[in-house]
Symmetry: C2
Subunit: 206 residues, 2 copies
Amino acid sequence: MSSPTNPDPRARPASRADDPEPHPGFPVERSERIYDSIWCGLRRDVLRLPGGDLQDYHVVEITDAVVVVPRLADGRYVLIWQHRHPHGRSHWEVPAGRMHADEAPEAAALRELREETGYACGRLERLSGFFPVNGISDHYAHAFVAHDCELEGELQLDRAERITARVVAEQEVRERLLAGDFQDGFTALALFQHFARAHGIAGAEG
Amino acid sequence: MSSPTNPDPRARPASRADDPEPHPGFPVERSERIYDSIWCGLRRDVLRLPGGDLQDYHVVEITDAVVVVPRLADGRYVLIWQHRHPHGRSHWEVPAGRMHADEAPEAAALRELREETGYACGRLERLSGFFPVNGISDHYAHAFVAHDCELEGELQLDRAERITARVVAEQEVRERLLAGDFQDGFTALALFQHFARAHGIAGAEG
């Protein structure tokens, strides 16, 4: 298995010559801890605005995550039917989860794939990562395709996870993606990237 | 301007006949308020697991948001070069923001478009919405394309926003999208959806 390495996977691709200079941002006058836990943190930064006024800016602290598109050698995909407590519904996703302490993104991707689908991966391909909610958090998602997946065993779920895995034809994945059936943003964005990398973005100019 | 209506835009598309039954979820034994503010809330739900054990599940409460892809009649797009305090960098996005109280998604989309680009929209097209971080929040993003945009005036920014708008050729938007230059998940997912709707998902089976 190959694990592409990148010294700073959160870095932007190189700027273009005509990109503007970065905006300067606002000085942080002080920062207050609101909440700490092993699951998430919350802080309030007090920003100094031009002119001198202060403004609160809340930042949610969540460990970075991985999302993995599992693909079999025959071109089918593994989807998971998952219950999500925050909105109370079940829907189709691809495996995803937060990285453990000191865990590399690639290792986290393989672990989540194994736990949530029962499959092991032949080769990991890195997609572009993203900030899912960068208005309120610097939480970052590392995205991958797991190629040549092979069934290895049973799912290994946390006690608070409810997941069923299913192997699905590529055409059905594409149809669901276009229909908006993947309401989980991690899943939809990783799948769009995967198809665009494999085939380009459709259209006259693509 | 047409405003497509939908009685519950957060609803999933209709289930397929062979979708599994929804998972039952876990009973909420009790729920504790950790934090409340006009910006966000945080609560701890205590879930009753099978077997009787309890497990904490933290839920971040954020008002739903909109994201808008601004397209001109000549086929170019408006991007914004925005500073994001949580990660401290500037990058290219499309307009987005949270809905005001009692504000419809379409109205919020037009308002954010006007404030963050200076453009007004001829026709709104609804894309599929998404849950950006449904492992920790039921925060939902309504996505749109704003067609036939025309410049109306200056940007109208909140004091804690740093934004520069620029009109960009379609080819450059596509290149940046494929290169992973849109690290904001809202932006990348709305653009992928827009191009896929207009042209299909590329590839033999698309």
